[in-house]
């Protein structure tokens, strides 16, 4: 697949292109995991890499996730840049000790003398009718772990550039790929970069009445909700975080100070999730700009449902709109509105 000319490609293809281009540019980049070789991964994200780069640079490991991550740690110590795939979110859990106690801590442990430039790719979240263990939203486990950068693309272009950035980053990156967006298509040109780097959120849609903060699989939901709200004459701004760690306080707070209202969208179960962090930060920093509490739209605090019931669990446009309706909009000029205008001016 050529990656220079502008083509319409799916997020899966963009990720594949990012891996291929990174491997072409840097000999040290290696790809390994379960079924990433001849099969090209169960989502085909590593399709063709073994054929182009050979067994030494893209290979299947024995079936053991702690082993995959531990092997990557050793290879990164040895000067390589491993990009490993966890086949599904719940199958990264066997590697949790390696991730939390080594991947996240080695640079700090050695005062920066040993760094671990490596990427752990994790297809995550649901919406694809997957059976148990194939649809977990596990981003909070990593975001809560100091020493890990946590990234999740919502667009085809971000999929390409954020993965390139993750591979080039001097630190370990947990790269969360929203499964259900693998097949989302858009045309883009790897050659021309427009996407900003780590730590920079993007306003996907401008609005003035309230801010929807989302990431990964939540972004398309937020955009649809904003579209529907516009029809009802309500103007919603949509902020796509792109990187959960580092977090872009500046962009998020700037938007909320403008709109005075905020809804956070997260597919994961709500309790102590990333959305809780966002809500806590926003009210800490924008309290006097807020006309209403920061509300969260999340999955329920339940194990991921079986395929036939996932639609009841997943945050959808209606749940977002219902929540926006609870943001205490009213016409009476109220002190909070005034404060908000002061803050804005």
């Amino acid at each position: 697949m050529r990656t220079s000319a502008s083509t319409s490609m799916s997020m899966g293809q963009a990720l594949n292109a990012a891996l291929r281009d990174a491997m072409r540019e840097d000999e040290r980049v290696l790809v390994f995991g379960e079924d990433v070789g001849p099969l090209g991964g169960v989502f085909r994200v590593t399709d063709g890499l073994t054929r182009e780069f050979g067994e030494e640079r893209c290979f299947d490991t024995p079936l053991a996730e702690s082993g995959i991550v531990g092997l990557a740690v050793g290879m990164a110590m040895g000067g390589f840049r491993p990009v490993v795939e966890m086949q599904f979110d719940a199958f990264a859990y066997p590697a949790f000790e390696q991730i939390v106690s080594h991947v996240a801590k080695t640079r700090n442990r050695t005062r920066g003398l040993l760094s671990l430039p490596m990427v752990i790719r994790i297809p995550f979240a649901g919406g694809i009718g997957g059976v148990e263990h194939h649809c977990d939203s596990s981003e909070a486990y990593y975001a809560h772990t100091p020493g890990l950068k946590v990234v999740t693309p919502a667009t085809v272009e971000d999929a390409y550039w954020l993965l390139r950035d993750a591979i080039a980053d001097p630190d370990p990156v947990i790269f969360m790929e929203p499964k259900r967006l693998y097949w989302s298509k858009s045309s883009f040109t790897p050659g021309e970069r427009r996407a900003p780097g780590f730590g920079r959120a993007v306003v996907r849609r401008a609005g003035s009445d309230a801010t929807l903060v989302a990431y990964g699989p939540g972004v398309p939901v937020a955009l649809q909700a904003a579209e529907a709200a516009a029809a009802e004459g309500r103007s919603l701004e949509v902020v796509d975080l792109r990187t959960i760690v580092p977090f872009d306080d500046e962009s998020v707070m700037a938007s909320v100070r403008r709109t005075g209202r905020c809804v956070v969208i997260q597919e994961a179960q709500g309790f102590a999730g990333v959305g809780a962090e966002i809500a806590a930060r926003v009210q800490e920093r924008c309290f006097h700009s807020l006309a209403a509490p920061v509300l969260r739209v999340t999955g329920f605090d339940i194990p991921y449902p079986p395929p036939k019931l996932e639609h009841s669990h997943l945050p959808d446009v209606d749940r977002v709109l219902d929540t926006v309706d609870r943001l205490q909009f009213d016409d009476r000029p109220d002190v909070l509105h005034l404060r908000r205008e002061e803050a804005a001016s």
Binding site: D35, V42, A90, V131, E132, H133, P307, K308, S312
Partner: protein, 381 residues
């Protein structure tokens, strides 16, 4: 003392135990190269493992016919969109059937997603077995009632559960055992190692049954292990081990029966590796042509466990054309019932999502249930 005596009683046979040749003849010449010493080898294993009773073998044959038909039916249901996904065990029926026939009703089975045929062979309701794959709930049967744990997806995690159950049974004074099924790929996971070690140290009445079907999705055995055979993994734990021709039902049932006896009578854990082959793709969603050639598949189809058992039983006069036909008729009826019942759209209740998280829902779950109720009662825009 020779370097080998220490490991005596732990090391498996040098070639897989076999009772029926690939052409279905009794005690035929085993796989290629070591034909020379098979006489002695046969005698050796013949001594250790007794052939199962004839009527049991005929019963096994019927269940194999039924199991294969069920498997075909399940695959068909995926094409009709009645199942979200189905992992076929076609070609592994000797293992699937022998695995359950070696157990008593009060023994516990710890199966994987691959083992639906074993479950129906144990007599579980096929529709309850397919609940997971149909996607209306995560497990459709009552594990305690049938003494079968939920089919396990996180690889190898069930092996240590089996050890825990075996310890529970032993402490309760029951002489029941636990048997964990696992695939060749699963043996690479840390939990498999921890389970073997725990079982050996605790001398738990548990049998680990490895169905080595040569692939972990696309990854061939050679990339999974460099051991002479997976059965050799028992040695390093002090666990008695054996390897068997997994497409020879007589041999699998014979060895598993001995393994279960060994565990039941206080001999501790037993590891059995069965050499078999996954004829279909990993699941209906997989495309095996991407990583293996038709010629290899054809070779294994020639060693079909069902055909081998049928020829063997006929050769021994235990089965005739009528018996074969009867078995297939029963299987057809069974499959038809399954198809009809699966065509009925199952009832699902979204509020059940909140009912089983805890014995009693937390205040938070009650709130969330109310939120969903409001959403569902809201007029559709």
């Amino acid at each position: 003392m020779s370097r080998h005596q220490v490991a005596d009683g732990l090391l498996p046979e040098p070639v897989p135990v076999r009772f029926v040749a690939e052409d279905g003849s009794a005690a035929g010449p085993p796989t290629g190269d070591q034909a020379g010493d098979q006489g002695g080898h046969r005698a050796e294993h013949r001594a250790g493992y007794r052939a199962p009773a004839d009527d049991l073998l005929v019963d096994a044959y019927r269940r194999m016919v039924l199991g294969r038909r069920f498997d075909r039916q399940a695959t068909a249901l995926t094409k009709q969109g009645r199942l979200a996904v189905y992992p076929s065990s076609r070609g592994q029926e000797a293992c699937q059937i022998a695995g359950v026939l070696a157990l008593r009703a009060d023994d516990w089975l710890f199966p994987t997603y691959r083992d639906c045929v074993a479950l129906v062979a144990r007599g579980l309701d096929p529709v309850e077995v397919l609940t997971l794959l149909r996607g209306d709930w995560h497990c459709g049967y009552d594990p305690a009632a049938v003494r079968v744990a939920p089919q396990c997806t996180p690889l190898a995690t069930q092996t240590i559960h089996a050890v825990g159950m075996a310890e529970a049974l032993r402490r309760r004074g029951e002489d029941a055992v636990a048997m964990a099924f696992i695939g060749d790929g699963g043996t690479s996971e840390g939990d498999f190692h921890e389970a073997l070690n725990y079982a050996a140290v605790l001398r738990s009445p548990v049998v680990f049954f490895v169905q080595n079907n040569k692939y972990a999705i696309s990854v061939p055995l050679a990339r999974q292990s460099a051991a002479p055979a997976l059965a050799y993994k028992g040695v390093g734990y002090g666990v008695r081990s054996e390897q068997v021709d997994g497409n020879d039902l007589v041999a699998v049932l014979s060895v598993l029966t001995e393994a279960v006896r060994h565990a039941r009578e206080g001999g501790g854990p037993f590891l059995v590796e069965a050499h078999t082959y996954r004829i279909e793709s990993h699941t209906n969603a997989d495309d095996a042509t991407r990583y293996r050639d038709a010629e290899e598949v054809a070779r294994w189809e020639a060693a079909d466990p069902l055909a081998r058992l049928e020829t063997y039983l006929r050769g021994r006069g235990l089965l005739d054309a009528a018996g074969v036909e009867a078995a297939h008729e029963a299987a057809e009826e069974y499959a038809a019932r399954v198809r009809d019942r699966m065509n009925a759209e199952p009832e699902t209740d979204p509020f059940e999502l909140f009912d089983h998280v805890f014995a009693a829902p937390t205040p938070q779950l009650r709130e969330q249930r109310a939120l969903l109720a409001a959403e569902l009662s809201a007029p559709e825009e």
